[in-house]
């Protein structure tokens, strides 16, 4: 199983590197968008999947990062790389603030508060023209260079996004395996027990939100640069719901779940384009079917299949003598 996993990972990585070379610019754009959204979903997965805190504000956090970079680069002429710590810091801070209600309420109440925050963030993006350009948005966001290498063409920018996503995947992997990750899981499974074992619930609840948000905010910087133009709409509530869907449909509390989920949520509508105007209808229907039959997501479905095959193999030899 272990080697199989490494081989599968290697093939997947090779595909990620080689496939875009064969794609048209729109395909490359979609792939870039996908690897970035993987990171956003990974962040939400830390908050929701590992720490068990429902957050429906992830698109808002993404927007905070995106607007930070957009404003600093276009208005103040900052270098893209210098905006990254600011975008990360601001979204981390905002995540802390949004996390505060989680200290008092849980479950659906938390869903509503975070959802409320997302709409508030969106309203600020749309209405504060002096800062965000309002409904018209911000144009001409530059793409970064790296050590003198020009990154403006779609393919090299895609590779930049890929490297970024790989680093963030490693970070998520590290967090999950660190004492922090174990504290998050304790928080999710039984907060009272976690507290009695000496886990500082307050700190870890807030951290779960802040880290998840920082993942999104940092990605926002790259996202703004990818689009080269941002307006408030990609950061509206419905996109937070999309990120939620990515985590759940992929498989929450698994490392590859968000990657699978982001692929499904982002690419499925593209593949359904043959259905023209009906594609969203079909898409919504598919989501409902998935939730009805496989609420633990694609990774859960895969595990169930593997388990079923394993059971059949285990049974086979004992049946032969009779």
């Amino acid at each position: 199983m272990g080697t199989m996993r490494w081989i599968a990972g290697g093939i997947f990585l090779a595909l990620l590197v080689l496939l875009p070379r064969e794609l048209k610019p729109y395909g490359i754009f979609l792939m870039s968008n996908w690897v970035l959204f993987c990171v956003v979903a990974m962040g939400l997965n830390l908050t929701l999947g590992y720490a068990g805190q429902i957050s429906i504000a992830q698109a808002g956090f993404l927007g905070v990062g995106a607007y930070t970079t957009a404003i600093l680069t276009t208005r103040f002429g900052w270098d893209f790389w210098l905006t990254l710590p600011v975008a990360t810091g601001l979204s981390f801070l905002l995540g802390l603030i949004v996390g505060f209600p989680a200290l008092r309420v849980q479950h659906h109440y938390l869903a509503f508060v975070t959802l409320g925050f997302n709409i508030l963030i969106y309203l600020v993006f749309r209405n504060e023209d002096w800062l965000t350009g309002g409904a018209f948005g911000i144009f001409d966001i530059p793409r970064p260079g790296f050590l003198g290498v020009d990154m403006r063409d779609p393919l090299s920018f895609y590779y930049l996004c890929l490297v970024f996503a790989a680093l963030m995947f490693a970070a998520a992997w590290w967090i999950v395996r660190s004492p922090w990750g174990r504290a998050f899981a304790a928080l999710r499974e039984n907060p009272v027990r976690a507290a009695s074992l000496g886990v500082d619930i307050r700190t870890y609840t807030l951290l779960a939100f802040a880290i998840g948000s920082a993942f999104a905010g940092l990605t926002g910087a790259f996202y703004a640069s990818l689009l080269e133009f941002i307006d408030p709409y990609p950061f509206a509530l419905e996109y937070s719901l999309s990120f939620l869907l990515m985590v759940i449909s992929g498989g929450s509390a698994t490392l590859i779940g968000p990657i699978v989920g982001a692929g499904m949520v982002l690419l499925l509508p593209e593949w359904l384009r043959f259905a023209k105007d009906y594609y969203l209808l079909i898409y919504a229907l598919l989501v409902m079917v998935l939730m009805a039959f496989c609420p633990e997501g694609m990774v859960g479905l895969w595990r169930r299949m593997v388990a079923a095959i394993g059971r059949r193999r285990a049974r086979a030899p004992t049946e032969r003598p009779t």
Binding site: F112, I119, L120, L123, D277, M291
Partner: protein, 302 residues
């Protein structure tokens, strides 16, 4: 003298805003009550509640435009259609298969259902806002300088009658009390010999009826459009939580409060942020009184 005239003008303005706010708030309350009832009996958080108001309005309008039916006949037919689609089909096809997986999958499923209904209405009806007939003749009345439309009064009257009837039904009849028992503790209710399945189905039907009534009241003002549900749904669940997630009375208070708040803040503070004020109220209520203004803490399901 001029000052006094100005002061009366301000008073009249405020009164007018209050009346129209209460009247739209009453409609929000209807959607919010349905939302609360579903939550109580089955733990369903219906993220498509706004679309549940939008769809009957579209169906009703289709009967009027394409079927040539008078509005009230169309309303009666739509009531039946809503009962089948938003009551029975919603319960059997969406809620029942998913509720045992926990809250989150169902949340996602109702979000998807909302998208499905929105896109369906856009594809198969119209992607533009359509005018919707007034249920009662439109008359502007003037009472001591305050103008009130017949529609506002009608909304208010219908909502009051409906809420009172519902309160009487839930508290005064055997079936209604059984429904409440199921809402509070389904297992205990089952042991006491209450037909839990029937009561749950009844709740879904009541919700379907409430949203249909809300549809005929709200659409003449909002116009019939496929994306109406977003604003209505959001307001309905803000109203539900602000008032108290486990109370019909709470949903009424929440609805009226949100309606009035929206009106006043849009007029006196900022139109752009009119949706922000109910949200801030929502966040404050959840932070400091999570069980809502009228809710009881011991019923909190956290």
């Amino acid at each position: 003298m001029a000052l006094r005239a100005r002061r009366t003008l301000v008073m009249i303005e405020a009164l007018q805003l209050l009346i129209s706010g209460v009247s739209t708030g009453a409609i929000y309350a209807l959607a919010a009550i349905g939302f609360v009832l579903l939550w109580q009996t089955t733990g369903t958080i219906n993220f498509a509640q706004g679309e549940f108001v939008m769809l009957p309005s579209i169906i009703m309008l289709a009967f009027v435009l394409h079927g040539g039916l008078p509005l009230w006949v169309a309303f009666a037919v739509t009531l039946v259609v809503s009962g089948l689609l938003l009551g029975v089909a919603f319960k059997v096809l969406v809620v029942q298969p998913m509720i045992r997986h926990g809250v989150l999958p169902l949340v996602i499923a109702t979000i998807a259902l909302g998208i499905f209904m929105r896109e369906g209405a856009k594809e198969f009806f119209s992607n533009e806002a359509q005018p919707f007939p007034m249920p009662v003749p439109y008359v502007v009345l003037e009472l001591g300088g305050v103008t009130v439309t017949s529609h506002h009064l009608f909304c208010l009257a219908v909502a009051v009658v409906l809420v009172l009837a519902l309160q009487w039904f839930l508290g005064g009849t055997r079936t209604g009390r059984s429904m409440q028992a199921v809402a509070q503790n389904a297992q205990a209710a089952e042991i006491l010999g209450i037909d839990v399945k029937r009561m749950v189905m009844l709740t879904f039907l009541v919700n379907a009826a409430l949203v249909t009534v809300a549809a005929i009241l709200v659409t003449p003002v909002y116009l019939a459009k496929w994306d109406n549900g977003e604003a209505i749904g959001l307001t309905a669940f803000i109203a539900a939580i602000v008032g108290g997630f486990n109370q019909v009375r709470g949903a009424v208070l929440g609805g009226v409060l949100v309606g009035v708040l929206e009106n006043f803040s849009a007029y006196y503070i900022s139109t752009e942020y009119r949706t922000a004020f109910p949200l801030i109220l929502l966040i404050l209520v959840i932070m400091f009184r999570p069980y809502g203004l009228l809710g009881r803490p011991e019923e909190r399901t956290v």
